[in-house]
Subunit: 157 residues, 2 copies
């Protein structure tokens, strides 16, 4: 139940991304029953390939805890993280990852690869999938449908 | 020859990290014969697990070019990038990566894993290794030697 509450907050962040014409991914980070970071994808707005929701949220959470290690935190993200974000979650030593929908193209927790099977990994964590999966993938497919829709030309009969 | 010049600049950044008590990794990014980003590892200073030299340099370079894609850039880094940084280099669509020394524990270009072998990867690039390898690994081993050295207790005899 708690997972669904936090994932709804992550989904709100994904909707913010959608409204800003960003690939709609949202993330929140919880620690001891409290949300300490909320972020949405900002790659287009910041023109920065590293500005994924998870990366921004990790930096926020580290700042909130005053620590480079996010021990004891749970990360909620609407879509399976990519390799960059997965690597950051390992470096941050999180306790648990919860995500909505798989990303068959770039997901790094079993889809394109599985970062937790990397040899010599010095930190691992629990992963829970498919929490609000339909809502998380629906907003993504709506976004790409909108992107592909032809723009009506003004002044053409 | 040009590679050695740029790698010397990356090494200068690694020395800055060393002086700030950070794991000494440095990075510069070059575009059309000019350095557009220089950064060193700042994980301890910023208390941010994502603040690797490469990540900071990628954000700087994207800002310099006004683009989320770093097409045509070459990235020089003293140590083989980890999975987070490797993922960011793929997302940034760089042209070429040049690095100094392998990182057997976490390197993502053949040591711990090889990100360029991920299935379905939508961007790849040339990788050149072993440029100023000895200098790049020497500064790392000096750093960890210093860390392990016992601190002399003040006021004991």
């Amino acid at each position: 139940m708690q997972d669904i509450i936090y994932m709804r907050e992550a989904l709100k962040q994904a909707h913010r991304a959608f409204d800003n014409n960003e690939v709609p991914v949202g993330c929140v980070i919880a620690y001891k029953g409290r949300i300490i970071a909320r972020a949405h994808n900002q790659v287009e707005t910041l023109k920065d390939p590293t500005a994924h929701a998870e990366m921004i949220a990790i930096t926020q959470a580290a700042s909130a805890l005053g620590s480079k290690w996010l021990q004891g935190v749970s990360v909620y993200v609407t879509i399976e993280p990519c390799q960059m974000c997965a690597g950051a979650l390992v470096l941050a030593r999180i306790k648990r990852l919860v995500y909505g929908a798989d990303d068959p193209k770039t997901g790094a927790f079993g889809s394109a690869c599985d970062i937790l099977k990397t040899r010599g990994l010095n930190h691992s964590f629990e992963v829970t999938r498919n929490i609000l999966c339909r809502e998380s993938s629906f907003i993504i497919s709506e976004f790409f449908k909108k992107k592909r829709r032809p723009i009506k030309k003004a002044g053409v009969n």
